[in-house]
């Protein structure tokens, strides 16, 4: 569990980075689900996202690259696959690649 302070008009991912957290992201405009999180408590505004459905909010998913806090929040990170499954179950569009995945680079020798 980590505590991060974010300003009201600051995107949560940006605040997390400022606090030294290395969270997955890719498009960074609220589209590809790489940064998807589950909001366990609190309110947020995800209206800056390029594609975000009311059903996403109802299920508690946030795209934190474009989400702003509206209260104290409790967030579970790394929810890309869960959010993609949620979209698929409802017939809502989403990229299928695991964006935001970082793999270790091959080493020589």
């Amino acid at each position: 569990m980590r505590t991060v302070r974010a300003a009201r008009e600051e995107h949560i991912l940006e605040a997390a980075r400022r606090a030294g957290l290395d969270l997955p992201s890719a498009c960074e405009i609220g589209w590809d689900l790489a940064c998807a999180c589950r909001v366990l408590a609190g309110d947020f505004d995800n209206s800056d996202a390029r594609r975000y459905f009311p059903e996403d909010a109802e299920a508690g998913f946030a795209l934190i690259c474009t989400a702003k806090p509206r209260s104290d929040l409790v967030i579970r990170t790394h929810q890309r696959e869960a959010m993609r499954e949620h979209r698929a179950a409802l017939g809502l569009p989403a990229p299928r690649g695991s964006w935001g995945t970082r793999q270790p680079r091959a080493t020589s020798g």
């Binding site: 498009c27 405009i29 299928r96 695991s98 964006w99 935001g100 091959a106």
Partner: protein, 221 residues
């Protein structure tokens, strides 16, 4: 000569087996998650294709800014070249683009580059003089290129040192996307803010020249 003297003459894929590809098995053995890579390439191809489509519209609304229009056309044609470059690689890796173009567009890895003032493509732009400005269009173009840079940087990271063919392709595309971003920063900065931020580039030799992605296409008609 004994078989052990030709260690690459056989391997995990048995002779005559057409159900597997050595070109896939080799990169998998070096650590590439091939199915996951294919999914990303399909998303990325969808983004290049939808971008090509939307840029076709965006350039139409740059009337009177002929220099912007030409540069938008270069980016448009180069994004189409990227789609052409990615698609063969998807099939080489055992994948397929969707059989329904709607599915393809829906799963694109980057947002639709809608013409500003159309309510995300739901209505035509106003014709009363308050239609989309050049600055608003340039902002859309810039953010589309930035998404592409993030996309291809990630594909480069995933394939570096393990899958030289996909890496080469991704690096070529990334080279052009970086140039596109530089163009649109230069143009938007001057148009919107009155500030000169040079791209360092001059115009392409021919529209959509694609100096990296078409200079030696491995399949690029």
């Amino acid at each position: 000569m004994a078989p052990r003297d030709k260690p690459h003459a056989s391997g995990a894929v048995k002779g005559g087996d057409l159900s597997q590809r050595v070109g896939v098995e080799q990169i998998a053995s070096r650590g590439v998650d091939v199915p996951a890579l294919v999914e990303k390439l399909i998303d990325a191809a969808g983004a290049e294709f939808t971008t090509y489509y939307y840029y076709t519209i965006l350039r139409m609304y740059l009337a009177g800014n002929e220099d912007y229009k030409e540069i938008c056309e270069d980016a448009r044609l180069e994004d189409r070249a990227h789609f052409e470059l990615i698609t063969p690689r998807i099939y080489e890796l055992g994948g397929s683009i969707p059989y329904d173009i709607r599915e393809f567009a829906d799963r694109a890895g980057c947002p639709d580059a809608y013409l500003p003032g159309t309510g995300d493509g739901k209505r035509p732009p106003s014709q009363d003089g308050t239609g989309p400005t050049a600055a608003a269009i340039l902002e859309v173009l810039l953010e589309a290129e930035r998404c592409a840079i993030r996309t291809w940087s990630e594909v480069c990271d995933l394939t570096f040192g393990k899958d030289p063919r996909t890496y080469d392709m991704a690096a070529r595309i990334l080279n052009e996307e970086v140039e596109h971003e530089a163009w649109f920063i230069e143009l938007l900065s001057k148009e919107r803010d009155g500030i000169v931020r040079p791209s360092g580039h001059f115009r392409r030799g021919a529209p959509g020249e694609a100096p990296y992605s078409k200079n030696a296409g491995f399949y690029n008609p």
